[in-house]
């Protein structure tokens, strides 16, 4: 059963209100940054479904993020306008298919082998796009036009407008979160959480666990593809770096930083990561070094990540005042 405490719910709703009210005050630079961090939040949540809720540590998750962006780039290569009604399904469809193929092999392994095989597949895709000069090779490609929602001359949502796109991403983030919550409390979610906790026992109870792991892998991959689609729409560029192991490592770090198996934690992780990196870039010449120290500190002192912070603080406060009347059991 996946539940969040009342405190967490209140905090999340407050953060949501802030995110919704923020755009007029952000300016172009921070507006783009927050948009990007929300997209990374979706990406990180999709990985949390695997790591935190199915117990599958995928080290090649960026493959789906980048692949979807490339499909968008390829589709838009020789066209001025395209309708999102088929472009988005095409991007998601290809990503789902890729997750099916990669997942089919990967879920046959476990532990370190699972990590290695997902990494290997992602690297294969990386080199495929890296060597493919028609697709810009290592430079990647620009996406000159974005698909539109227009039906005839009526265009309800203009993706070219920064403000509008911010809200498109915000709504996508909320829907992804609520959708995953729903999934986790549905019969399917019960099974994958059983697999995470004790796969052997889940199989002994009569569940064909491999099939559930594969479906979880496909859902996570497709959601990562959705994030990749938004990212490519947002930045109008797609390059092999988007599906490299570096990107996979970053998103995994985001999940760990935010709190594995918490769903909202990885979104918080994306924001913490993003803003910290941005700030460090201003104050030091070695932002990556200090990022590393930060990550180590979080792992050591906040084992449940940023999402565990409210509970950690509450426990600390309760323990703090000695002889303060105490708290009888």
């Amino acid at each position: 059963m996946f539940r969040t405490s009342l405190t967490t719910n209140l905090i999340l709703i407050c953060l949501l209100v802030v995110l919704a009210a923020l755009p007029p005050f952000l300016g172009i630079y921070y507006g783009n940054m927050v948009t990007r961090l929300m997209i990374l939040g979706i990406f990180a949540m999709s990985l949390d479904l695997l790591i935190g809720f199915t117990g599958l540590v995928s080290f090649g998750h960026a493959a789906f993020f980048g692949l979807s962006g490339y499909i968008l780039g390829i589709v838009m290569m020789d066209t001025e306008t395209a309708s999102i009604y088929w472009v988005l399904p095409a991007c998601l469809g290809v990503t789902a298919l890729a997750s099916l193929v990669i997942g089919w092999f990967s879920v046959r392994t476990s532990g370190i082998y699972f990590i290695m095989i997902t990494l290997a597949f992602a690297q294969m895709l990386f080199y495929f796009f890296n060597e493919n000069t028609a697709l810009g090779g290592s430079d990647g490609m620009f996406i000159f036009a974005k698909p539109t929602l227009a039906i005839g001359s009526w265009n309800p949502i203009d993706f070219e407008d920064h403000h509008t796109f911010y809200y498109v991403v915000l709504v996508s983030l909320i829907l992804s979160y609520l959708g995953l919550r729903r999934l986790l409390n549905a019969p399917f979610g019960q099974v994958i959480q059983g697999i995470r906790t004790n796969e052997d026992r889940t199989r002994a109870l009569g569940f064909a666990t491999r099939r559930y792991k594969l479906v979880s892998f496909i859902i996570a991959g497709t959601l990562a593809g959705f994030a990749g689609f938004l990212e490519a729409m947002h930045t109008s560029i797609i390059s092999p770096a988007h599906l490299g192991w570096h990107e996979s490592g970053n998103v995994m770090m985001t999940v760990i930083l935010g709190g594995i198996g918490t769903l909202h934690g990885p979104v918080l992780g994306a924001f913490a990561f993003g803003f910290l990196h941005d700030w460090l870039q201003d104050v030091t010449e070695h932002p990556t070094l200090y990022m590393g120290i930060f990550v180590i500190a979080v792992v050591l002192f906040l084992p449940r990540g940023i999402a565990g912070l409210p509970a950690d603080i509450a426990r600390w406060l309760r323990r703090k005042p000695p002889g303060d009347g105490g708290s009888p059991p």
């Binding site: 059963m1 729903r182 409390n185 399917f188 019960q190 052997d200 002994a204 009569g206 666990t209």
Partner: protein, 252 residues
């Protein structure tokens, strides 16, 4: 005599050079409590692992209700109505008792590939889970996290989870191991009640319990079946006393 519910034919399992189970041909009658006893390392757990599909046999075959189930995966065998409990407690430690039994009960739905409607609305699953909790004696512990319970209670939960899958044939690997005498008495009573409607294959070291519950006893030594017989026959068999008790004495 009725058709056996489960039959093994020259079943064998080899670990490297070790013959953990060898040439085991047994018939298990429906409605009968069939105990399997034997000294440590006799191959009892390995035999159960073969029957439940947790280990693939190296030799021989297994038939359940006339169907060849040799080499089927544990989930397939469970779906045929064979439930098992583990010697080494095997539960979901971070789940509550209710959640443990819930997942077990949910396994009897035609499919759990359901992605949207909340699982908690499945009233049939809830009823089965609660029923199993009551039966195994943990009705009061419904919302307790499994890891926080005593060892004996975890063993009870182990049985509860098996029951929530509504099996016909129960494979019980030392259900009393590590229980206090009060808990053990309770579980012996439970096994007796279960025996009225189920077929039991029971591995147990506690001889008083075995003699109290079992209809038939098979003695295994070094991976092989030494003898199968009624409680009286086994109790009075010189052969068994020598092989089985002899080993016990050696150990002491």
């Amino acid at each position: 005599m009725s058709e056996p519910i489960l039959t093994t034919v020259r079943l064998g399992k080899q670990f490297g050079a070790l013959r953990a189970v060898f040439g085991v041909s047994l018939e298990f009658e429906p409605g009968v409590v069939h105990a399997i006893i034997g000294p440590n390392g006799a191959g009892k757990t390995t035999l159960i692992n073969l029957l439940s599909g947790n280990l693939p046999p190296s030799d021989g075959s297994i038939h359940y209700r006339g169907q060849d189930i040799t080499g089927l995966s544990p989930d397939r065998i469970s779906q045929l109505g064979v439930g098992r409990s583990f010697q080494k407690t095997n539960i979901f430690p971070t789940f509550t008792c209710f959640e443990n039994c819930w997942l077990a009960a949910q396994s009897r739905r035609p499919s759990s590939m359901r992605f949207f409607r909340p699982a908690r609305r499945l009233v049939d699953v809830e009823a089965r889970a609660l029923n199993a909790l009551e039966t195994c004696g943990l009705g009061e512990r419904r919302d307790t996290v499994a890891a926080e319970m005593s060892y004996g209670e975890q063993r009870q939960l182990e049985i509860g989870m098996m029951l929530a899958t509504e099996p016909d044939l129960l494979l019980l690997d030392e259900p009393l191991a590590g229980m206090g005498s009060e808990e053990a008495t309770q579980v012996i009573g439970l096994l007796r009640r279960l025996a009225e409607e189920h077929t039991l294959i029971l591995i147990e070291h506690d001889m008083d319990a075995v003699f109290a519950i079992a209809d038939l006893i098979t003695v295994m030594v070094n991976g092989e079946v030494l003898k199968t017989g009624s409680v009286e026959q086994i109790r009075n068999s010189a052969e068994v006393q020598q092989a089985y008790l002899g080993v016990e004495e050696d150990e002491a």
